[in-house]
Subunit: 448 residues, 2 copies
């Protein structure tokens, strides 16, 4: 059975995803190394290291046509792209709706790798295999699909001490590595590409993150060298509890519904995708409900990627996006939840015999693959709230919002409706509960 | 290095344990199967199944002297004990202080197994190996010490539907199984001993739990048969989040400090124990602080086991316990934490820029191996508060208390001091925090 078959069998794909049994993704990392509060504080004050070796899909593309392949599916510009460059690839469907993003690593001029949630890497592999490209595809599956056997290790350091720690581990000054470029370094005799990148901070503002990629048989030596180098700089290992909360601060909206479930143009991809893969098993959670899955689709502008679209090349979705340019868009915003309202929500989720409000998991309170809560202003729906959670650096709960541009006024008070309708969907992660509107302050720039 | 060496090196064993890096035990089970709220509700309303195959130390004792061995170390009576009986073995040191408890299974007249936290099984193995017993010891280590290879599977069902589900899986009426006795049954062709036992309910009150033990190569067949049989009865699988919260309801005090760290009489045992085992790595967490480890020791009466002591046989600690009989004891009580105070504590652990109160993990809020918080009445220390946490069935937070008998007045309002002194100990699970006294109502009987 493929994804297309599964959707046909289900009848309504929006209802299928809203009631899918998939809970929030459990990252294949130790839950906590010390405690998630101090692990969060580390990326703000010293440095944190996350072992990202297991959880992401990594697909390698080799051959003379790799640049053309990526340029054909990416809305991004590709001028000057090549060896030791990287890029957050943004892919859309033919109608200009967001399909997926992933980090594109150019290891060689003819050898790229695309790393992230499975959708964009799968889309690139599908295009490579079914289109007219001289590209060889090698899948390095995430551990849930491959028992943890990986080709590469991937250690991500974040925080102000990152540079010093990696330099200490290397044993000599680091080469200059520009933002989203890679440097070639060696730690404990293991060759590594070091991507200047950040998960927790806001991209581009400062040099606060390095993602170190190398052959998996060198993982333990590099890990030990980094831990030893980090000791005097206050490096903490970060676990599965803290890890997804990095995105809450950075503003990376990890989980929009990919625009692949409808339309004739996307059918071949749905038929290519398995009926039991990520795209087929993903769930939707939250107070925003529609039986039309396209109501969950978003555009690059909604996610803050309007600035990366380059109409200097042909790519899938270009014509549709060109028409959208001057249309009104939604805008990515940060929603700082009201502490008093959240405290009351938490209390009412736990105490008393009456109907409980939705339990908020800590630190990240998502309870499905893709989170969509209603955001209202003066009782009017102005957009969605996505991944939500708490960090010690924010000092409270916040979420990402995608709201109508005209409504994206910094400092505006809005409400977010927490929980699902009619006592909750059939997702087994969802206990019976009642909805609760909480106040939030809309911010057009990051909270920390 | 053995435990005795490690203590000598540390200097003060109380400080060693209070600053030990060990966090709360992470049970080797899937974290949640559905969600921990509904998993907790299941043992009250339908049934829950926990896979206990991995986490407990299980030591087998075979030979003609097994009964004498256990009788020599157990304060319990052993009249009529034998094949297909079981017992919560309570062991004390020579001074009558509690050393450990574990479940003793009599599979045959000359084949017992002792299952639980490592201390009591280790003590029995030490006695068997160093004393004059014709007993062969076979260690079946918990998965943290043995990569998950076990001799037996162990599925625990709890809740009102337990009997019906197991009967359905067996395919015929169950034999009569008295409380803490075992029945011989077969599921999916696998021979099983079924212990009438309960984790969540109060022992002896009703037939609400069965622990099914069989050879590990039959585990998957039995699991599948139980899940299939449980479907129509609302059986839920229980995960690592919900699992330790069963004890909060039942009143089993899982983690008193074992009385092994001091005294000449216990030195040989300390020299026998490794310097990196459970006893050496255990930590103490909470607001009760003393540099004298003996202040953390408890008696069987403090834990509610006074009723099981039988002076009808010789056993280690007997003389000391006989002297204690008419002395004042502490009494086990339940402390129902004040919802308003807990809600404020949670809010103050998360929000604002000021010093935070101690974060309460949910549902179980222990942050070390052994939890000891101060319990005060009118500003006077009256005892300890042990394992704490939330269950939906209680509808709030509660903990176990061990308080002076005279102070154990049902309905009395006491305070529990939450958090550690001076900003917190060096345990890496502990973020910097301030202490907070919360109100609690003392109950002399279970809360649910």
């Amino acid at each position: 059975m493929n994804l297309e078959d599964k959707i046909k069998q289900a009848g309504n794909v929006a209802r299928m995803l809203r009631n899918a049994p998939q809970g929030p993704y459990v990252f294949p990392m130790q839950s906590e190394y010390t405690n998630w509060r101090d692990e969060q504080r580390a990326w703000s004050e010293t440095a944190v290291m996350f072992d990202q070796s297991l959880h992401m899909t990594d697909i390698h593309f080799k051959g003379p046509d790799v640049l053309r392949l990526m340029s054909d599916i990416g809305v991004n510009g590709f001028k000057n792209f090549g060896r030791n460059k990287a890029k957050q690839l943004i892919a859309c469907n033919y109608d200009g709706y967001f399909l997926g993003d992933a980090i594109l690593f150019a290891f060689e001029e003819d050898h790229y790798s695309l790393v992230g949630r499975p959708v964009a890497p799968n889309w690139a592999a599908f295009q490579a295999e079914t289109g007219d490209y001289d590209v060889e595809v090698t899948r390095d599956e995430r551990s849930v699909a491959n028992d943890g056997r990986r080709l590469s290790f991937r250690f991500q350091l974040n925080g102000p001490a990152t540079h010093k720690i990696v330099e200490r581990a290397v044993g000599s000054p680091l080469p200059t590595i520009r933002f989203f470029a890679m440097g070639e370094i060696e730690i404990a005799g293991v060759p590594i590409r070091a991507l200047n990148h950040t998960m927790a901070g806001v991209p581009g503002l400062e040099f606060t993150g390095l993602e170190l990629v190398g052959p998996s048989d060198g993982a333990e030596r590099v890990r030990e060298a980094l831990i030893a180098a980090g000791e005097e700089f206050g490096l903490r290992l970060g676990g599965a509890r803290a890890y997804p909360s990095t995105a809450i601060e950075s503003g990376w909206i990890a989980a929009p519904v990919p625009a692949i479930y409808t339309g004739d143009a996307m059918r071949a991809f749905r038929e290519w995708l398995p009926g039991n893969g990520f795209e087929a098993n993903a769930s939707i959670a939250g107070s925003f409900v529609s039986d039309d899955i396209e109501d969950y689709y978003v555009t690059p502008w909604d996610l803050g990627y309007g600035r990366v679209i380059r109409f200097d090349h042909d790519f899938i979705g270009r014509a549709a996006l060109e028409k959208m340019v001057d249309q009104p868009h939604r805008q990515k915003v940060w929603l700082r939840w009201n502490d008093r309202d959240v405290a009351d929500l938490i209390a009412d989720s736990l105490f008393g015999s009456g109907p409980h409000t939705k339990y908020l998991e800590m630190p990240v309170s998502n309870y499905g693959t893709n989170s969509y809560d209603q955001v209202l202003a003066d009782g009017r729906l102005i957009g969605f709230s996505a991944s939500s959670g708490y960090t010690v650096n924010v000092g409270g709960w916040s979420s990402h919002g995608m709201v109508a541009e005209d409504d994206a006024v910094d400092g505006r008070e809005v409400t977010v409706l927490i929980g699902e309708e009619n006592g909750g969907s059939a997702k087994p992660t969802v206990e019976r509960h009642v909805q609760r509107a909480i106040r939030a302050t809309l911010r057009t720039s990051p909270l920390v």
